[in-house]
């Protein structure tokens, strides 16, 4: 392996960027491809597929065997609001293999008694996210209904290019939210990326069912990121 490939790979992983080491097993040459870089040629399709499913694999191309070692940062789900839905979502995310953290400045909601071992921050999203910045491999679900709490992290998530941004609230609530965020200067195409009503349309009624719908939508977004 080229020492530079190793160095650049570690840099990408440390910066939570997805990267694939492409090794030609026939001649031993390797190169690094970072997600989002344009790739030409026979490997292009296999690379984009590998970025999405996260699976390392060997492929044949042009008479050579290649190994694609895929390094996708572990996705993080950031939930704004320590509400009933979040309690269920924390359990479902864990089962699904996604790391999850909950942020809510309302100390009556954000208690270890309600959330057990879930990573919990009883502080304002502004303060928490300053130390734990969002990135493209984060999903953000804002579920407090309270603009004072939800608006800032929603804007931050859109700016960071989170693979999923969802907001709880009725169509009317959401329309008002979009007006406020627009006034903050967030462009329309970014606002269009907010999933609201939140969650897949499965007729979810209980907090637990809504959590399932949100988790399903997050998985769908993660496995189709960059596909529009």
């Amino acid at each position: 392996m080229d020492p530079l490939t190793l160095k650049n790979l570690n840099e990408a992983r440390n910066a939570r960027k997805a990267a694939i080491v492409v090794t030609n097993l026939t001649d031993g040459q390797d190169r690094l491809v970072i997600e989002g870089e344009s790739v030409e040629g026979e490997l292009a399709e296999a690379l984009s597929k590998a970025f999405l499913n996260g699976k390392s694999t060997t492929i044949e191309a042009g008479g050579c065997e290649y190994f694609l070692n895929v390094h996708v940062p572990p996705p993080r789900i950031v939930v704004i609001g320590a509400v009933h839905i979040s309690q269920a979502l924390a359990l479902i995310a864990k089962t699904s293999g996604y790391a999850l953290e909950v942020i809510d400045p309302r100390t009556a909601f954000a208690t270890p008694e309600r959330f057990g071992e879930t990573e919990l921050f009883a502080d304002w999203p502004e303060d928490v996210l300053a130390n734990r910045p969002l990135d493209a491999y984060c999903a953000l679900a804002a579920v407090t209904h309270d603009p004072k709490i939800d608006d800032y992290p929603l804007a931050a998530a859109l700016e960071a290019g989170c693979f999923y941004v969802g907001a709880l609230g009725s169509r009317k609530t959401h329309a008002k939210r979009l007006d406020r965020l627009k006034e903050e200067g967030i462009p329309q195409e970014a606002l269009d990326c907010i999933h609201s009503p939140i969650g897949l349309d499965i007729g979810a009624a209980s907090p637990q069912e809504i959590a399932v719908a949100i988790m399903g939508e997050i998985i769908q977004a993660f496995r189709s990121r960059g596909l529009g």
Partner: protein
Amino acid sequence: MGLAESFAEQDELAIAERWMSEGKEVAIATVVSTWGSAPRPVGSHLVMDEEGNFEGSVSGGCVEGAVVTEALDVISSGESKMLEFGVADETAWEVGLSCGGKIRVYVERVG
């Protein structure tokens, strides 16, 4: 412990880079394909230096000894090697590896 610190401390690729910066000779072994129930997934790494110190794993502990021996060769020759292990033989059974598995491990020198 911050994300970056835990990354550097436990991660075998970060360790390989650190060893390089300390002037050591380093080889990386990577599981490139598996058949049946292999103990470590494709993409798993074992890294080692020229003295045989190693970190990470490519199996549940059965083939690491063989990989390290081969890697010493790779470090001195600079020629990459493809190793194949069937983990259905008696040794594998004795150390409790799942039967019917087979792995292919690519060993290369860094630099």
